[in-house]
Symmetry: C2
Subunit: 402 residues, 2 copies
């Protein structure tokens, strides 16, 4: 398979490191607006199949030329969400399989943002579903870890563990810390603010999608693998938009185990207006407060070597088991930063995101996964995915009792 | 008396509004680097004795020319602490009485900032004490409300209420809020950060001056006039440097009734590095994070009309009364924002700061207060000051029992 990865950040770099170990990859082009960054990823991979290129992800002609030049079978989007739509459209135009790990952006409801959805995550992409079907092209959206593996878990639970599902609740938590740093998020603070301060979205069978105020429905969830209990709150996340389309459940939620301290920090940034992306005047210049916050914190791409701890992505499912009895399970996947650093030189959170699209690409290359249109991971059979993930050396687990 | 006020901010403006009602003022020149700001203050005073001028407070020649041109008897410094030393030296050179409301800045101890003092608040000014004595010039330093009125209270307690003082504890609190704003400090966030994150200083008879980590010795103090209990913590403040020089006590502290929420906000800003004044790079520009925080918040000079509540400045004193029995009192002064806005068009915090140097200037003009050298308010008799403050329509109070 000939793959073009757009974006040579942490996730793109991990994709290259993981894919370079797999035989299905004929060629992997790492493309970035900064050619030096792409070249550095290719150099680290140290494999002649991995090559670097320059591309402007916002320019459809530039992307089309790149896909043609490399005779790409698939485009994996590892950029930030602003570039979803141009890359998604470029893949359709070129009739190339498209994968991403974050979906097109939401716009809050103009009058009642904490009750009603406006433009939802992925709406712009699903609007092109028929065009992808007509072109016979597969767009596999939200195939990182969350969304991604969490959605695979939903399909697995529906097919193999439950006869009826009351709630699909993604629950994400970690005990990652950077010793000596009071506050060092393991991924972009910009994205963390975006996810946490956008109105959280919930789906219920009787109501459809609706929104709540930020940080709603706090609960303490006990994470496995020694991570322990963390305060979790609703946030806006793709799974809530994906799962109800293919998996039958009464309720779908995403709660983020930020912990009390991070929730407090994000609330404070919001109260002070420091989460805003609207520039403020400071002396002779104008800057976005959120960019200033990001600039004050350590770069998440560089803290991997200093970080310690584990990250856990998973899906809590409550319902009626296949035997007719009430059942609760937590399907989950844990990555220890010490392991991912030693094994791949990659920080745990980006490695955990990157492994899933590589597994998916291998399933597509072998024909085990196929289709046309805009599909979420739960639209496809979960078992081969989970088996191949285990073969990659990173097994998942099931905790009975939720 | 011919007075030059340097700085036409909130405090300078209030000084003009208050002084314009007093007959001892022959001329009051409001000078600012921004002549329009100075003119606006003069226009608001609406009194021919109050005139505007332009001055660069950092330029000794410019200040000297201003003092000479107006044949000034006194220079009242209402600028921020960066300009203390040039204005202080200019007054000495011109042999003009000098007053300020904040003293020369401190520099933390380079190795053990949370145990030992480095350069203390006011050290640079006290180093010129002999020069002021030799020139026969009075520098009355720290004569706002805190420092200022709090120091007058210390002298009053020592002279009239106690035979022995165990602790002089300045306690400052308010219930000022801006309805609809979660966080709207009533004075500069820049200064609030500076005061609260600099190592707090404490004085003890046996140890002299020493420092602690920020937010040390939290206690809940019950403020009068309906403000109620607030969490107070040690901060660096001039009173601790002034009181022990003239008033006998075993311990001197300054605790700020920030309340739990403000303490939390300041801690968070510090953890994220957003309190820093060292510029960070954001895109093509470099900005001080602390300036960005300030730019995101409402301008304290403009929130007076929206604000509601009261501010209380005071001194808690514990020791042995003049009758030999244990005694605790809280000497205090409360300003209701509704009153200061209605009466003077001034926000409560700046009005409460500004009234004290005007009272002091009137005592100096009449010869009731006099001296040479660098003196704190506690070096002079408290009774005429407190009587005149009451005559200004803003009485103080004593709460027996602390």
């Amino acid at each position: 398979m000939r793959i073009v990865v757009v974006g040579a950040g942490g996730v793109g770099g991990s994709v290259a490191a993981i894919a370079a170990r797999r035989e299905f990859v004929e060629c992997l082009v790492v493309a970035d607006v900064d050619p030096a960054r792409a070249q550095a990823v290719a150099d680290r991979a140290g494999d002649p199949r991995v090559v670097a290129a320059r591309v402007d992800a916002s320019d459809p002609d530039d992307v089309a030329a790149l896909l043609a030049a490399h005779r790409a079978d698939a485009l994996l989007n590892a950029t930030d969400p602003r570039f979803v739509m141009p890359l998604f459209r470029a893949a359709l135009a070129a009739r190339v399989t498209y994968l991403d790990m974050a979906m097109s952006m939401s716009v809050p409801h103009p009058e009642r943002p904490h009750e009603l959805t406006g433009v939802k995550l992925g709406d712009e992409q699903f609007a092109l579903h028929d065009a992808f079907v007509d072109a016979g092209v597969l767009a596999l959206v939200g195939i990182g870890v969350e969304p991604g593996l969490s959605d695979v878990f939903a399909r697995y639970a529906a097919d193999h563990l439950f006869s009826e599902i009351d709630e699909l609740g993604v629950r994400d938590g970690s005990d990652l810390v950077v010793p000596g740093r009071a506050f060092a998020p393991s991924f972009s603070i910009w994205t963390l603010i975006e996810e946490c301060l956008n109105p959280p979205v919930v789906w219920e069978r009787d109501r459809g999608w609706f929104t709540t105020p930020p940080f709603s429905e706090p609960e303490v969830f006990d994470f496995p693998a020694g991570i322990g209990p963390l305060e979790c709150v609703n946030v806006e996340h793709e799974e809530v938009l994906l799962m109800p389309r293919w998996v039958d459940a009464r309720r779908v939620t995403f709660k983020y185990g930020l912990g009390t301290r991070v929730i407090e920090v994000l609330r404070t940034l919001h109260e002070l207006g420091l989460d805003s992306t609207t520039p403020v005047r400071v002396g002779d210049v104008r800057v976005s407060p959120r960019e200033v916050v990001a600039a004050c914190l350590p770069d998440p791409a560089t803290i991997g070597p200093e970080m310690t701890g584990r990250t856990c992505a998973g899906l809590w499912v409550r319902g009626t088991g296949t035997d007719g009895a009430p059942r609760e399970v937590y399907l989950h996947h844990v990555v220890d930063n010490a392991w991912s650093m030693a094994e791949y030189g990659c920080q745990a959170v980006v490695w955990q995101t990157a492994v899933n699209p590589v597994v998916a690409l291998e399933l597509i290359a072998s024909g085990v996964w196929s289709g046309a249109g805009v599909l979420g991971p739960e639209a496809l059979d979960a078992v081969p995915f989970l088996d191949l993930l285990t073969e990659y050396g990173s097994p998942w687990a099931l905790r009975e009792g939720g």
